[in-house]
C-alpha cells in the first residue's frame, strides 16, 4: 500500500506540475499558429522575441496532422480562439478563414510595401515571402528548359513524372488555380489525362522531389522550397516554372492574419508589423527555402538566384478566383477518393 500511495503522490505531483507551468498561465505570451516550415520559421520567431521581449507559443502545422490542418482547427476554435495570429504558408486557406468569419482586419503600415494583388484591401490578410510551383528536373536525364519539359509532359507515358496527392497543400492550390482558369470540368479532364498516362502520384512535394533527385523520375511537380532542399544536397537538378494554360505562373505567398476576438490583439499587431517588414522578407529569402520577397527590399542583400524568381512571381495568377474554387475542387477530389 505504501508504494501505491507513493505512486499516487508522484502522479498527482506530476499533474500539478504540468498544469501550473508558467507557460500556461502567462498572459503576456503570444499564440501563433504557423503553417510555414518550422525550420525556417523558428529563427524569425526567435528574432521577434529577441527584439520585443514578447514570448511566443507556437503551434506548427505538421505532415502528421494534415488530416485536420491549422485552417480547420482555427474554424473549430472560432468561438473561443486560443490563437492570436495565423501565419499561413499559403493564401487560399487564409481567404477561406475570412469567409468563415474567423479573422479580424488589421492593415499594418508595413503592408503597404506589398503589391495589392497579394493582400486583402480590407486588411483581413496580407501576403509576403512567396513560393512558386515549379517542375523539378533531373539534369542527368533531361534538359531543364520549358520546351523539353513541355515535350516530356506531352508524351504518351508519364510514368517518370511525379506529382503529389492534390488533397493536400500547394498541389491543392495548384488545382484551384487551374480550376479558376479551366473551370472544374477542364480541371477534371486535365487530371484524368495525367492519370491515364500513368503519372506517379506520391504523398507530398518532398517525395516528388526525392524521386527526381534519385533519378527514378525525370520531372516532378513541386515548390521552390523543396527544389532548394535538393540544391542544398548538391543533387543534379534544375527548375522550370509551372505555367497555367494562360501562361501565368503559380505564386503562393505566405499570408498573415489576426484572429477575431484573440486574447492578445496588441501583441498580435506588433507581430504582424514585424512579419511584414522588409527585414523578415530578406531573412526568409536568405533561408533554406529561398522565399521570394514580394515587397520592395534591398536587392543587394538577396541571393542572386532569386532575381529570376522575382520576375516569375510578378507573372503569378490571381489568387482570389482560385480561392473561390478551392472548396469545389476539394469536394470533387473527395468524391473521387471515396468513390461516390
Amino acid at each position: 500500500m505504501k508504494f501505491r500511495s507513493l505512486l499516487i503522490v508522484l502522479l498527482t505531483a506530476g499533474l500539478v506540475w504540468y498544469f501550473t507551468t508558467p507557460d500556461q498561465s502567462d498572459s503576456n505570451r503570444l499564440v501563433i499558429y504557423c503553417a510555414h516550415d518550422a525550420t525556417y520559421a523558428q529563427p524569425v520567431l526567435d528574432d521577434f522575441t529577441k527584439q520585443t521581449g514578447i514570448e511566443i507559443d507556437v503551434r506548427f502545422d505538421e505532415e502528421s496532422n494534415k488530416s485536420l490542418g491549422l485552417t480547420n482547427l482555427l474554424i473549430a476554435e472560432k468561438d473561443q480562439p486560443r490563437c492570436d495570429v495565423f501565419w499561413n504558408n499559403q493564401t487560399l486557406g487564409t481567404i477561406r478563414l475570412q469567409s468563415e468569419d474567423v479573422l479580424q482586419p488589421y492593415i499594418s503600415l508595413n503592408a503597404k510595401r506589398i503589391p495589392d494583388i497579394f493582400r486583402d484591401d480590407k486588411g483581413y490578410w496580407t501576403g509576403f515571402a512567396a513560393r512558386l510551383r515549379v517542375y523539378i528536373v533531373n539534369t542527368d536525364l533531361i534538359d531543364a528548359t520549358e520546351q523539353a519539359v513541355g515535350e516530356k509532359l506531352a508524351q504518351a507515358s508519364l510514368e517518370d513524372v511525379a506529382i503529389a496527392k492534390p488533397i493536400f497543400g500547394t498541389t491543392l492550390s495548384h488545382y484551384s488555380v487551374l480550376a479558376a482558369e479551366l473551370g472544374l470540368d477542364g480541371l477534371k479532364q486535365w487530371h484524368a489525362d495525367l492519370h491515364q498516362r500513368g503519372i506517379r502520384e506520391v504523398r507530398g512535394n518532398s517525395m516528388s522531389k526525392d524521386l527526381v533527385v534519385s533519378g527514378a523520375c525525370e520531372v516532378g511537380f513541386t515548390d521552390t522550397d523543396d527544389f532548394y532542399a535538393a540544391i542544398d544536397q548538391a543533387a543534379p537538378v534544375a527548375m522550370v516554372p509551372i505555367r497555367t494554360p494562360k501562361g501565368s505562373t503559380i505564386c503562393m505567398p505566405n499570408s498573415v492574419a489576426m484572429i477575431r476576438n484573440c486574447r492578445h490583439p496588441e501583441l498580435a499587431r506588433q507581430f504582424i508589423d514585424f512579419l511584414l517588414s522588409a527585414e523578415v522578407e530578406i531573412q526568409l529569402a536568405n533561408g533554406g527555402a529561398r522565399q521570394i520577397p514580394l515587397g520592395s527590399v534591398d536587392n543587394e542583400r538577396l541571393p542572386p538566384q532569386l532575381f529570376e524568381l522575382q520576375r516569375w512571381a510578378k507573372e503569378g495568377a490571381a489568387l482570389q478566383p482560385a480561392a473561390a474554387q478551392n472548396e469545389d475542387v476539394l469536394n470533387w477530389l473527395r468524391s473521387e477518393m471515396i468513390g461516390q
Binding site: Y18, F19, D57, E62, I338, G339
Partner: protein, 484 residues
C-alpha cells in the same frame, strides 16, 4: 478505391503476414526453443527476433521511405517491402507469446489419444478443434491473432512508404478522407467495420487466454510432452535450422541494424553538435514531458484495464475498449470536438485531452497485456515467496524479495513499459491534441523527417530512443527498490 476494398486489402494482408510469421515460427519453436542443448542459442535468437518490436514504426517508415520510392514503381514490390517490415514485428510477437502465454493442460499426447478414439461425429470433431486451439498451440494462435491486429492497425510506416496508393491501408485511407474534408461522423461510420473486425479478434484472443488457471502451469509446458523436440533434436539438419536463423537475422538486419547504419553516425554527430546548444535542451525538455504524459496515460490505462478485468460483467470492458479501436485519427477528432464544447473547454489547452486520448487508445492493448500478465503470474509461487520474505534469515528474505519482483512485479512493469513506449511514439493523437505550449517530441521528429535534416534529426532520434529507455530502466530500479 472504395473503403470496403481498402478494408478487405488490409484484412487479407494482415492475415497473410501473420500466417507467414506463424509458418516461420512453428518450425523455429519446434527445432530451437524446445531443445535444451540449444538453450543459449535460443536466448540469442529470441533477442534478435524481439528487437524489431522496439524499433518505432515512424523510424522504420522513414528509413525505408526512399527505398520504397526506388522500387521502380512496382506496386507489388512496395507491398512486399511493407509486408516484410510488418513480418519482422509479427515474428517478434510470436516469440513474446511463446514466452508469456501459459501452457494449457491439453497436451499433444491427449490430442493424439483423442484422434485415436475414432469419433467422427461433428461434436467430437469440434471438440478436437477446440483442443488443438486451446491446447498446445494456444500461444501460436494468440500470437497469430495479435499479429493480425498489429498489421491491421499499422499507420505510420504505411503512410511514409506510400506511393501510388500502395501499400493500401485503411488507416491511411481514413486519414486522407478527413484531409479532404470528409465529415467526422462519416469517418466514424467508415471505421465501424474496422472496429468490428478488431473486436472479434480481441474477443477470440480473450477467449483463448481466459479459462481455468492451471495447477502447475509453468512446469507443464505442453511441449515437454511432445515428441517433436526430441525427434527434432535428433533429426535436426543444418539446412532448415540455418534457413530459420537467416529469416530471424534478416529481420534484425532490416529493422534494427540498417536504420542504425544509415542514421547512426549522423546521430552521434548530431548529438555531439547539439550537446551544448539550445536544441539539445529543448529536445530533452520535449522528451521528458512527452515521456511523462506517456507514462501517465500508460499507468492510467493499465490500472483501468486491471479494474475492468476484475468486473464480473464483460460489458464495461467492451464499452471501454471500443474508442481505442476507432483508429487514433477518429478518436482524436472526436475528443477534439468534445473538448471544444462549452462544458470541457476549460481544459482544452492543457495536457488532459492528450492524456485522455492516449489512455483510451492504449486501453485495448492494456487489456490484452493484462490478461497475458494475469495468466503468467503463478499465485502459488508468489504465495511461497511472500512466506519466505518473512523469514528470520536476512539472506532468504532478500532472495524472496528478488523472487517476488521476478514473479509478480516485473511482468506488470514490462506491461506498463510496452504501453509507455507505444504512447510515446504515437504520432496522430499527439499532433492533434497537444497543448500549444509544448510540442511532443514525436511530432517534432515527424516534422524534421519531412525535410530530412539528417544530423539534427538523427541526434534527436537517438535522444528519443535512448533517453526513454534509460528513464524506464531507472524507474524499474526505483520500483524494485521500493518493492524490496
Amino acid at each position: 478505391m472504395s473503403f470496403s476494398l481498402v478494408l478487405c486489402w488490409s484484412v487479407v494482408r494482415a492475415i497473410v503476414v501473420s500466417s507467414v510469421a506463424l509458418s516461420v515460427f512453428v518450425p523455429l519453436r519446434n527445432r530451437l526453443f524446445q531443445s535444451r542443448p540449444t538453450a543459449s542459442l535460443a536466448r540469442w535468437v529470441s533477442i534478435l527476433a524481439v528487437a524489431p518490436l522496439l524499433m518505432p514504426d515512424l523510424l522504420l517508415g522513414f528509413t525505408y521511405r526512399l527505398a520504397s520510392a526506388g522500387l521502380d514503381f512496382s506496386e507489388v514490390a512496395t507491398e512486399l517491402l511493407y509486408a516484410c517490415l510488418l513480418l519482422t514485428k509479427v515474428l517478434a510477437l510470436q516469440v513474446i507469446c511463446h514466452w508469456l502465454v501459459p501452457a494449457s493442460n491439453v497436451s499433444k499426447s491427449a490430442i493424439h489419444l483423442w484422434k485415436m478414439s475414432v469419433q467422427t461425429s461433428f461434436t467430437s470433431r469440434l471438440l478436437l478443434l477446440r483442443m488443438i486451439l486451446f491446447g498446445p498451440n494456444r500461444s501460436l494462435v494468440v500470437g497469430w491473432i495479435l499479429g493480425i491486429l498489429w498489421c491491421f492497425q499499422e499507420f505510420e510506416t504505411a503512410v511514409l512508404l506510400q506511393i501510388e496508393q500502395h501499400p493500401i491501408a485503411w488507416t491511411v485511407w481514413l486519414f486522407d478522407a478527413k484531409a479532404a474534408n470528409e465529415p467526422l461522423i462519416n469517418c466514424v461510420l467508415f471505421a465501424v467495420p474496422a472496429i468490428i473486425i478488431q473486436g472479434l479478434l480481441i474477443a477470440a484472443g480473450v477467449a483463448l487466454l481466459s479459462g481455468q488457471k492451471l495447477q502447475g502451469d509453468h512446469q507443464t509446458k505442453p511441449d515437454e510432452y511432445a515428441p517433436v523436440s526430441s525427434v527434432g533434436n535428433r533429426s535436426m539438419s543444418f539446412g532448415p535450422h540455418c534457413f530459420l536463423l537467416i529469416v530471424i537475422a534478416a529481420g534484425f538486419l532490416i529493422t534494427v541494424v540498417w536504420p542504425i547504419v544509415l542514421h547512426g553516425a549522423a546521430g552521434i554527430n548530431g548529438l555531439w553538435k547539439m550537446g551544448t546548444t539550445a536544441v539539445f535542451q529543448v529536445g530533452l525538455d520535449q522528451i521528458s514531458k512527452s515521456l511523462a504524459v506517456a507514462a501517465l496515460s500508460a499507468v492510467a490505462s493499465w490500472k483501468l484495464s486491471r479494474w475492468l478485468f476484475t468486473k464480473p460483467s464483460y460489458r464495461p470492458a467492451v464499452l471501454a475498449i471500443v474508442p481505442g479501436l476507432l483508429s487514433p485519427l477518429v478518436l482524436s477528432l472526436l475528443l477534439l470536438s468534445l473538448f471544444l464544447s462549452p462544458g470541457f473547454h476549460l481544459v482544452y489547452d492543457s495536457w488532459i485531452p492528450l492524456i485522455v486520448a492516449q489512455t483510451l487508445w492504449l486501453l485495448p492493448r492494456a487489456f490484452l497485456l493484462n490478461i497475458v500478465v494475469e495468466r503468467t503470474i503463478r499465485s502459488e509461487q508468489i504465495h511461497s515467496a511472500k512466506l519466505l520474505s518473512h523469514s528470520f534469515d536476512q539472506q532468504i528474505r532478500k532472495q524472496a524479495k528478488r523472487l517476488l519482483w521476478i514473479l509478480e512485479h516485473r511482468p506488470a512493469w514490462l506491461g506498463v513499459t510496452v504501453l509507455v513506449i507505444m504512447a510515446f511514439w504515437e504520432v496522430t493523437i499527439s499532433s492533434i491534441l497537444h497543448p500549444v505550449s509544448l510540442q511532443p517530441m514525436v511530432c517534432r521528429l515527424y516534422r524534421e523527417m519531412h525535410f530530412g535534416h539528417t544530423e539534427v534529426l538523427a541526434g534527436l532520434t537517438a535522444m528519443s530512443v535512448v533517453f526513454p529507455m534509460l528513464a524506464l530502466a531507472i524507474a524499474a530500479q526505483i520500483w524494485k527498490l521500493v518493492r524490496s
